[in-house]
């Protein structure tokens, strides 16, 4: 046989990520096999998806839908075979393999009340959880999706993994921010990286090139939760070392569903959802006065008012105070009932040779914001009909398809192909901080009466300056065409050697457009002249990765596992943008504009890494793993070449040791600890000095020029984070309680500080990255799963997730405090992005007139403001707790599940109330004699004290939210068979976001904020809506 050809083919396979079957065509004579069936012990029913592995080797198999498995083995001898499956206790059996013969080993697995998935995905492949020294949180997506409470990938993560903080968007299509174990980077992204089926994918937040205020999409929400089997959260450098540079903020590993050998299993699901906004938006006030002239007398068309401070000063008299809340008036409220529907069809099945999973879905979501009744009447009276955009101003349409194929090329080689396609159209209305244009801006900013008038004399019904009929004419759309594909080849030329290679691509074609037709849109600036923005961006994320793993049972006590690998990633951002201003009537393209602008932008990053990992096991209960990864990156400075990231971890199932006392109530006790390092890379051109192109208008027309832009930094290197974590896993009372407790301490050194450059230098860029800072995150995480009641008719299980995070900026490396904004600072000894302001120290109505007043004379002033800025609080929660209670009843046909979560010890900037009091002049504390002294005091401090401090608006953000409630009915199979000719039938009713049960926050909702930034503030933003869903699952 020609040995060169398979070698060549495999090398090509390594490089291309594919493995032609010929690569493993060499047949080994006298090959033996182990076969068997895995069943549920109490019922005898076959168990699919059980992992069967031969201990001390790389070989194994997964059971098919009949519980059958077959393992080919090349060397005769005595082996130990292990069976693992979620929901069951691990089992091991000894098997003697005789050359040329088939040995049979069946497993009857005993269910346990609570069990975690015994297998986790690591950078070197799948491993037993017991062997890994880190805590890896897992979310069984397929189970959660079935409860009907999620509509996005982000929903899957919210409050389901300790240490993972999710800031969700509040509109249809709005993005999400995910933080794992706090914020580590001063100036770079704190986003984790995302890996789907072994391929790095785009997970950026703020993914749009046109603005609608503060709401932006996040690319992770493109992923359809129905396609996901599980999500694993690799939390920090101690676990993410081998994922390389960029993994310091954690890794979210997504595994999509795959086929199982057996006959085709079809399933259809649909969700019908009502979306409503039940939040209490603030009431507006107006202080009416009568003066001597029209300029000093209040009217519906002017802004003349009498404020409390003016009443106290005697400069005016309040004739009356009126109030109005347009969201409570059926005629003026923009909130209606949104509607979401989705229909999904999937099939999985196959043979031992080829298994498949195919999924297709159509979904459509129409948000809850509408054109109010009064606007509709206005349009009707003017002979105008609602356009399609006005009917559905916040809309998401998405079609997704996925095909996953697993091919057994030979007993030693297999190939997994994955392909996912997403087509998505998102329309977002102007919202949040969009100035005059924003829907929420106009809700928060309206006067305290109904019949205010615009410049044309039209009634605004309490809207500030523009109403939805005009605002919705701004057409902001985003189209996404996305393909995520990967191929993974596995080859086991020897029992002890496994080779794998993965090649994948995440391609996104994104088109952002914004259009104001001629004479449309609110009359602000030049908008009514018409404009069109059309930006087209392509994102390419390539992953090429190859590794070899050698496994050897050295002797009865010691085992060894060595993995050697290389990885290359390449990301490309490639954008062409164009804008056309001043459109003629009817024109909707840039081509028709009188003024045209164009731009292009490119960004490319490449990383080449290699790693080696060595694991040594002792009697299958102590596992010590050491590894090192080296990376080079195109963004490192010229004077910096290679970075090395080490890792060391240990896992010890101490309860299996003879010396360990055996208690009846303790089933298993495992100690684990890990240390590791990882990094975050700077941007592509952060290291180099450069000029930028510009142009100016001269007498002879426009001429191109050049301006100095960036100083660069030739010493730039990646930010380096090291982390130590330690903890234990324990199972108690016959596996009724399963506990994982973890302590972590993460330190980011060489933290990239975006060092502000002094303005006097005159550089184009305002800052330069320097490796200066040090940031520390530490805390505890706990996950407790319990079964309190378990009987044939009644079950009660409780899941508790809790975490703490203490964040501290240890050092800025000699750089002055970083003033991020008037309220946010980075100072040594305090959390990143901390809230700072001159404090409102006290207030007292000294003269007893019922009005809090400021006076320059401290003896007369009724407010006391500190002289310097002080730290007011953390921008993200220090404590997070989620509690899920599940009840099964009526022969477990019904399951009721409820999730309540708490976030605490942090501050939220009630910036909406700030602007109402200090700029919109419609808040209670400014006008209403019945307002509290505190409301008045913070207003006076912001308006009249020389400091203009807004400290009074930075409030406790703590809250308890009733996040999810669902009731599922799993119909008897005979019902499905008899009435629907199906295999299974389940119906679920679910509600997401039932409301805030408790909070100290005085604003509309402590989670009412936009989707960008590491210190979210509520600035004229919508609060989270409620999703009420009816879901049907039908299997056939």
């Amino acid at each position: 046989m020609n040995t060169r050809r398979p070698l060549l083919v495999f090398v090509v396979g390594v490089l291309c990520g594919t493995m032609p079957s010929v690569a493993a065509s060499g047949q080994t004579p006298q090959q033996a096999s182990i076969t068997g069936r895995v069943t549920d012990a109490p019922t005898g029913q076959p168990l699919a998806n059980a992992q069967i592995t031969v201990v001390g080797t790389n070989i194994g198999a997964q059971t098919n839908s009949d519980g059958q498995y077959t393992i080919r083995i090349t060397t005769a001898g005595n082996y130990e075979v292990r069976a693992l499956r979620v929901g069951y206790g691990e089992q091991r059996r000894s098997v003697t393999v005789v050359a040329g013969q088939t040995s049979t080993q069946n497993f009857q697995m005993a269910p346990v009340p609570v069990s975690l998935n015994p297998v986790v995905t690591t950078a070197t492949g799948q491993q037993r959880r017991a062997e890994v020294g880190n805590d890896i949180a897992q979310v069984s997506a397929s189970e959660v999706v079935g409860t009907g409470t999620v509509s996005s990938a982000a929903d899957l993560l919210t409050s389901r993994a300790p240490g993972v903080t999710v800031f969700e968007g509040t509109q249809t299509g709005a993005g999400v921010r995910v933080r794992i174990r706090g914020t580590s980077s001063l100036s770079l992204s704190n986003n984790p990286i995302y890996v789907i089926d072994g391929v790095r994918v785009e997970g950026t937040t703020g993914s749009s090139s046109v603005s609608v205020g503060g709401t932006t999409p996040a690319r992770i929400n493109d992923i359809n939760p129905e396609e996901i089997e599980s999500i694993e959260v690799v939390k920090g450098p101690s676990a993410s070392t081998l994922y390389g540079t960029d993994a310091a903020n954690g890794v979210i590993v997504i595994t999509t569903k795959r086929g199982v050998a057996g006959k085709p299993q079809w399933s259809y699901s649909t969700q019908q959802t009502a979306i409503t906004d039940h939040n209490h938006y603030p009431t507006a006030y107006w202080g009416w006065r009568t003066g001597t002239t029209s300029a000093t007398t209040s009217s519906p068309s002017n802004t003349v008012q009498c404020f409390l401070s003016q009443v106290a000063a005697g400069t005016c008299v309040q004739d009356s105070v009126t109030s109005y809340n347009l969201t409570k008036d059926p005629q003026s409220t923009p909130f209606g009932i949104g509607y979401r529907q989705q229909h999904a069809l999937q099939v999985k099945g196959g043979s031992e040779m080829i298994r498949y999973f195919i999924h297709g879905e159509w979904e459509d979501e129409d948000g809850s914001t509408k054109v109010p009744e009064f606007d509709q009447r206005f349009m009707s009276s003017h002979g105008l009909a609602l356009s399609s955009i006005q009917k559905s101003p916040n809309h998401l349409g998405r079609e997704t398809a996925r095909a996953n194929l697993d091919v057994s090329l030979s007993p030693d080689a297999d190939l997994s192909l994955s392909a996912g396609y997403i087509q998505q159209d998102l329309r977002l209305p102007e919202s949040d901080d969009s100035g005059v244009l924003g829907i929420a801006t106009n809700i928060y900013g309206g006067p305290g009466f109904k019949y205010n008038l615009n410049a044309n004399g039209d009634t605004l019904y309490g809207w500030r300056a523009a109403t939805p009929r005009d605002i919705y004419q701004i057409e902001t759309d985003q189209n996404i065409q996305r393909f995520i594909g990967s191929s993974r080849a596995n080859w086991r030329p020897r029992d002890w050697l496994a080779l794998r290679s993965t090649f994948g691509l995440d391609f996104i074609g994104r088109r952002d457009t914004q259009l104001c037709r001629f004479a449309n849109c609110p009359d602000v600036g030049t908008t009514r002249l018409g404009y069109k923005i059309d930006n087209r961006t392509n994102f390419f994320d390539y992953t090429l990765d190859a590794a070899a793993t050698a496994t050897k049972q050295i002797n009865e006590a010691f085992g060894s596992r060595t993995t050697l690998g290389v990885q290359f990633t390449r990301t490309i951002f490639d954008r062409n943008g164009t804008e056309g201003d001043q459109l003629p009537p009817g024109a909707v393209t840039v081509t028709g504009a009188a003024v045209k602008l164009a731009d292009e932008a490119t960004d490319e990053t490449r990383t080449l890494g290699s790693f080696i990992e060595q694991q040594v096991s002792f009697r299958d209960r102590l596992f010590v793993t050491g590894a090192i990864r080296s990376d080079r990156n195109s963004a490192f400075g010229a004077d910096f070449k290679t970075v090395f990231y080490p890792k060391l971890s240990a896992s010890w199932i101490v309860s299996q040791e003879r010396f360990f006392p055996h208690f009846g109530w303790l089933d298993e006790f495992r100690l684990r600890g890990a240390y590791g390092a990882s990094g975050v890379q700077p941007g592509t051109i952060d290291a180099v000095p450069y000029y930028a192109a510009t142009r100016t208008l001269g007498e002879a027309g426009e001429v191109p020029g050049v301006v100095f832009s960036a100083l660069g930094n030739t010493n730039l290197k990646p930010e380096r984070s090291t982390e130590f974590e330690a903890g234990f896993d324990a199972a108690f009372w016959h596996n009724r309680v399963n506990t994982q407790i973890t302590f972590y301490n993460k330190i980011s050194r060489d933290a990239l500080v975006s060092r502000v450059l002094p303005p006097s230098l005159g550089t184009g860029t305002t800052s330069r990255f320097e490796n200066l800072g040090e940031v520390k995150n530490s805390g505890w995480e706990a996950a407790i799963n319990t079964v309190l009641l378990q009987s044939a008719n009644l079950g009660w299980d409780v899941t508790f997730n809790g975490s703490t995070n203490q964040n501290k900026l240890v050092s800025l490396g000699g750089v002055p405090n970083i003033i991020l904004s008037s309220t946010l600072q980075d100072r040594e000894g305090y959390p990143l992005n901390g809230w700072w302001s001159r404090p409102l120290l006290g207030f007292q109505d000294k003269n007893g007139n019922g009005i809090i007043q400021y006076n320059a004379d401290p003896n007369l002033s009724e407010i006391v403001v500190g002289d310097t800025s002080v730290y007011l609080g953390n921008p993200i929660p220090i404590y997070e707790v989620a509690l899920v209670n599940g009840f099964d009843f009526w022969q477990r046909r019904f399951r009721l599940q409820a999730m309540v979560d708490y976030k605490g010890d942090y501050k939220t900037y009630n910036n909406s109330e700030r602007i109402r009091c200090l700029s919109r002049f419609n808040c209670s504390g400014l006008i209403n004699p019945g307002s509290s002294e505190f409301e008045q005091a913070r207003t006076v401090a912001g308006r009249e004290h020389p400091s203009r401090t807004v400290a009074g608006f930075i409030e406790d953000g703590d809250f308890i939210r009733f996040r999810e409630l669902s009731l599922t009915f799993n119909a008897p199979e005979r019902w499905a068979s008899r009435y629907l000719r199906g295999r299974s039938l389940a119906v679920t009713g679910a509600v997401r976001n039932l409301g805030v049960l408790w909070t100290k926050y005085t604003g509309v909702d402590p989670e009412a904020y936009g989707t960008t930034g590491d210190a979210p503030s509520s600035f004229q933003a919508f609060a989270p809506p409620r999703y009420a869903t009816l879901r049907l699952n039908l299997g056939f």
């Binding site: 490089l15 050697l564 290389v566 006097s760 230098l761 008037s822 203009r948």
Partner: protein, 456 residues
């Protein structure tokens, strides 16, 4: 079996070979097309491109905007003085209007960066022109000295003592140290004097740059005190009254920022007798400063249909000197030369000549009646400064003038700056200049106090 063993060994070898590729620089080499490398400007064409870039920088620092919302010192200085009142909800803009500025003020930091960018670009262009384009017309390098000196003088007029001029030479930062405004005027004057001798021709460009430098020289000398007034008048004597040095605006480069933030975005409103002491700009009905009230017939004709400011307040007074986004702005003129002469004449004890000079300038505008000598030195100064206020509305003169009234004419701050009740509540503060921005603390030579003092 043997075959497979060899195959596995070879495969491992291949994998190691791939790992060996880690050392390859080629794989990691990335070209970014968005940037221009320093080597690309090391030529005559490159020097010329940097020269043009300096104009773009000066434009954005003074009269233009590429974002539609970032203003420079012309507007912010005018709001700290009495030209503009605030019309929006941004605290940092309101603080400027109210004269209670914090060094962290984001708008002023942006403006400070912009004016320093103009200064740096001009410096770099001067160096590159000398090195790579020695045969270029002298006015080109002279005009770069003009840009540099204009920026330096404007900063000295507006900022507190303790301002800083840093630079970037050969790609390396060179941190400056705090200097007084008087020192800054001296530096600006030196740059003007470096530029003037470079003009040896008599072309339109030569004359344009020469006149601009001469007027700027007079302006700087005026700032330096009464002892320099005579020299200032001499410097500008040759400049014709009709001379204008303009920055051009367009929708595709930089649009007129005054139009953008007043007429279009309604964040600024022309003031009228702001804080008791302010000039009645809006009410004066002066043909040099045509205005309309938002939503009235005149405003609607000029495309301004809204009746109120961005904060929905009134008055919303709209200037019509620059009625479009593409209206050019005169930043140096022959009129300024005449005003310098008039002030020097008054200081020399010749008020009649001063009034005559003022009236000669007024004849260039239809509808301006001649002035008469008010009879007292104080009133004469008031008259000259009022004339300057209308001639140079929102072109970066007014804040410097109010400070000169304090510094050179011994007026109190409370008699020249807006004072008393601020129009949005509370009272005016005491600021008479712009502080060095907090971001300048990243300069190792700058003390924590930033400003040496906050005097006029």
């Amino acid at each position: 079996m043997l075959i497979k063993h060899r195959l596995a060994t070879a495969t491992l070898g291949a994998a190691l070979l791939v790992i060996g590729c880690v050392s390859s620089d080629r794989i990691l080499s990335v070209e970014d097309p968005d940037i221009i490398n320093p080597a690309d400007v090391a030529s005559a064409a490159g020097a010329n491109a940097v020269r043009i870039g300096a104009f773009a920088r000066l434009n954005v620092a003074t009269t233009g905007t590429t974002s539609g919302s970032d203003e420079g010192l012309f507007l912010l200085g005018g709001m700290l003085a009495d030209e503009w009142i605030n019309g929006d909800s941004f605290i940092d803009r309101q603080a400027v209007d109210q004269r209670v500025i914090q060094p962290s003020n984001s708008f002023l930091t942006t403006a400070d960066r912009a004016i320093n960018r103009a200064r740096l670009s001009a410096m770099q262009a001067t160096v590159l022109l000398k090195q790579f384009s020695p045969s270029a017309p002298g006015w080109e390098a002279a005009e770069m000295y003009f840009v540099e000196a204009f920026a330096e003088n404007l900063m000295a007029e507006d900022y507190c003592n303790g301002l800083v001029f840093s630079s970037v030479i050969d790609g390396r930062e060179q941190y400056g140290s705090p200097i007084s405004d008087q020192t800054a005027f001296t530096i600006a004057l030196a740059h003007v004097d470096s530029g003037l001798p470079l003009i040896t021709g008599n072309t339109t460009d030569d004359l344009r740059v020469e006149y601009a430098l001469q007027v700027l020289r007079g302006r700087i000398l005026l700032n330096m005190g009464q002892s320099h007034y005579a020299e200032a008048a001499t410097s500008v004597a040759a400049v014709p009254t009709s001379f204008k040095y303009q920055l051009l605006e367009s929708l595709t480069t930089a649009s007129n920022v005054i139009w953008s933030l007043n007429n279009s975005n309604r964040r600024y409103s022309v003031s009228s007798a702001e804080g008791t002491n302010g000039v009645n700009f809006a009410a004066a009905i002066d043909p040099r400063l045509p205005v309309c009230q938002g939503g009235d017939a005149t405003c609607k004709l000029n495309g301004v249909s809204q009746a109120s400011r961005d904060d929905l307040g009134k008055p919303f007074t709209v200037q019509l000197i620059w009625p479009t986004a593409a209206s050019p702005v005169t930043i140096i003129s022959g009129i300024e030369a005449r005003m310098i002469e008039a002030e020097a004449q008054q200081a020399a004890g010749d008020p009649a000549s001063a009034v005559a000079t003022l009236n000669a300038a007024r004849t260039t505008v239809t509808g301006l009646a001649p002035l008469t000598d008010p009879g007292t030195p104080g009133a004469e100064i008031d008259q000259i400064f009022r004339e300057r206020a209308f001639w140079f509305f929102s072109t970066g003169h007014r804040l410097g003038d109010l400070r000169r009234l304090i510094r050179q004419y011994q007026r109190s701050a409370d008699s020249v700056f807006p004072t008393g009740s601020w129009h949005k509540g509370g009272n005016y503060g005491g600021d008479v200049n712009i502080p060095v921005p907090q971001a300048e603390l990243n300069n190792p030579n700058v003390p924590a106090a930033l400003c040496t003092d906050r005097n006029a």
